[in-house]
């Protein structure tokens, strides 16, 4: 009864095409947004921000990026880690070379560089589909990681082989670097993800999103509609790599503080892929759900035994984590291939009818 949309008639196509067609949804979204901006910086302690919220926002951005490529355009990519690395190392080189340029611009520029690299690896991959494409993205993944390991220029010849985020400010507030506070970093990540999630949502509900989904669902039929597969796939590759690049820069600058290539290895690629599978392929909202889920599982696995008073070795935790991820993937694919997003939708539909069964 609470969630009824009776009486909400759409009188224009515009209102029908809106992101939140149902008025209650709009209110909820608005409240969540306001809460997200105000509550954590004021209330949450550093642990919550550092261990949960900030990585959630960073990975949500990467998940949106991969979802655009794999969920909407149907191009399977196992190179997410590599493209995140491109973003991170580009941002590092740019900001150390031009310390006075705003870090916001640096992030955007590193996204553009990642997009360019993505296009480069995307080009030869466009005659091939499915698993073959996955292999091409693996080539990108392994090659890029090797490159950043081998070529000292990328880490400014630091002997440790790591890159470290320097202190940078936005509007006078330290947002990156060893002295930046967690709330500032949180707000920065939040800002980016809100803007880019909105852009992504706009893209997918319009012409570009439809041509991506056409390629995904029936690429031969798509051609007769006038879709040019090459251009469409390249666009998906480019935009997706942009998102992953910015996310990679955020990973180092806003979350980890410093990193080496290990932070971007093949396991990261799998991690983000898991996020979009569990969250829901082809759903922006699902990308958020999946990212949150994957972030929380290890934390729960670490803390639950602790709360229950059971001692578990770190190795065992890692093993259970692997088994849990693997098992959950299989479970989701069997039960709900469209992921948490679809489950959420079903819940809402049930709410609309509640307390009636149908």
């Amino acid at each position: 009864m609470i969630y009824r949309e009776a009486g909400q008639f759409k009188t224009s196509y515009a209102s029908d095409q809106a992101i939140f067609p149902i008025v209650q949804d709009r209110w909820v979204a608005g409240l969540v947004l306001v809460a997200a901006v105000l509550v954590p910086p004021l209330v949450a302690n550093d642990y919550w921000l550092q261990a949960i919220l900030i990585p959630f926002l960073v990975y949500a951005l990467a998940a949106i990026g991969l979802n655009l490529l794999t969920g909407y355009a149907g191009q399977l990519s196992l190179g997410t880690g590599g493209f995140m690395a491109v973003g991170a190392y580009s941002a590092f080189k740019l900001t150390t070379a031009f310390p006075r340029v705003s870090i916001l611009l640096v992030f955007l520029a590193s996204g553009v560089i990642a997009a360019a690299v993505g296009l480069l690896f995307g080009l030869p991959s466009l005659r091939i589909k499915g698993f073959y494409l996955a292999v091409a993205t693996l080539a990108a993944q392994f090659f890029l990681i090797w490159l950043f390991n081998k070529v000292g220029w990328f880490v400014n010849y630091a002997s440790s082989g790591t890159i470290t985020a320097p202190n940078r400010t936005v509007l006078g507030v330290l947002v990156t670097g060893p002295n930046a506070g967690a709330p500032a970093r949180y707000l920065m990540a939040l800002g980016f993800v809100i803007v880019f999630a909105l852009v992504a949502k706009n893209l997918v509900r319009g012409r570009i999103g439809r041509s991506w989904m056409a390629i995904r669902d029936r690429d031969i039929a798509a051609e007769i509609i006038g879709v040019r597969p090459l251009r469409t796939k390249l666009l998906a590759f480019g935009i997706s790599s942009f998102y992953c690049g910015v996310a990679g820069a955020e990973l180092v600058f806003l979350f980890l503080g410093s990193a080496e290539t290990l932070a971007f290895d093949i396991n990261q690629s799998f991690l983000v892929l898991f996020m979009i599978i569990i969250g829901g392929l082809g759903s922006i909202f699902g990308s958020f759900l999946g990212a949150g889920f994957i972030i929380l599982v290890p934390i729960l696995l670490t803390n639950i035994p602790h709360w229950l008073g059971i001692k578990m070795s770190v190795a065992l935790q890692k093993e259970i984590e692997l088994m849990a991820f693997g098992g959950l993937i299989i479970l989701f694919l069997i039960v709900e291939p469209h992921g948490l997003a679809r489950l959420w939708q079903i819940t809402k539909e049930k709410l609309r009818l509640w307390p009636f069964p149908y």
């Binding site: 030869p124 005659r127 091409a136 090659f143 090797w146 088994m323 959950l328 299989i330 694919l333």
Partner: protein, 312 residues
Amino acid sequence: MAEALRAVLVAPFADMAANPAFLVEVLIGGIASGLMYSLVALGFVLIFKASGVFNFAQGALVLFSALTLVGLMERGAPVWLAIGLTMLVMVVLAFAIERVVLRPLVNQEAIILFMATIGLNFFLEGFGEMAWGANVKKLDIGIPDTSFIVRGVLVNRLELTAAITAAVLVTILAIFFQRTRIGRALRAVADDHAAALSIGIPLKTIWVIVWSVSGLVALAAGIMWGAKSGVQFSLSLIALKALPVLILGGFTSVPGAIVGGLIIGVGEKLGEVYWGPLVGGAIENWFAYVLALAFLVFRPQGLFGEKIIERV
């Protein structure tokens, strides 16, 4: 500039010509590792050929079988008993996989099944480690990792055994697919699940057979790799290397897996030894993939794969 071109295009070949005996050893080393890749790729081909599923978990199967074998041997089982028991374990595992993963997903698209095998991969890795422990183990199957000299060239006993095993397995499997009734049924299943069901081919049995055979092939690969470099977590990463092998050889070709493996193995070794020093080494990390990528550009279906004509 000319200097760089010469370093890349001329000098390596000059090096090869200057020391032919060494070149032969590198080639043999490449052939040996290539055959080991082929063994792993063979497992992929089997499952793909017979059920259309790309089994990402093949590497985990290799790891799991090797872990089980070593685990049993550490608990005192003699080699032959351990191998026999491990084969049994792999068959049981195939049953379990069919029941839990494959049957519920029987009508889904290929990409869903592929992602399920990624999940399976992680699950088996975690499970194997939990069951048998995470430290590196030594696998001793009675064949020493020593070399003997044949006509001035160093030949490694272990690598030789691996090569012979791979050759034997491939021949058996090739004959199996081409000549036997079950082999034909398997090819029918790979082509079209629904059609195969409708002519009475028992899908469930087929899948159990295929995954069991694949598990046994994985065991063979696991033994060879494990004996060579110890049984450890990174064994499953070898499966990733099998992907370029499949690209080169075609996903459905048993001989292709061999040829592809040889090309990748030899290519990698040559690349590492003769071109590696130019760029600081460790080319092996990505060389196979880039080679496969180049291949994809020119011949997407691989050397032996079937060209897919899409009917509109």
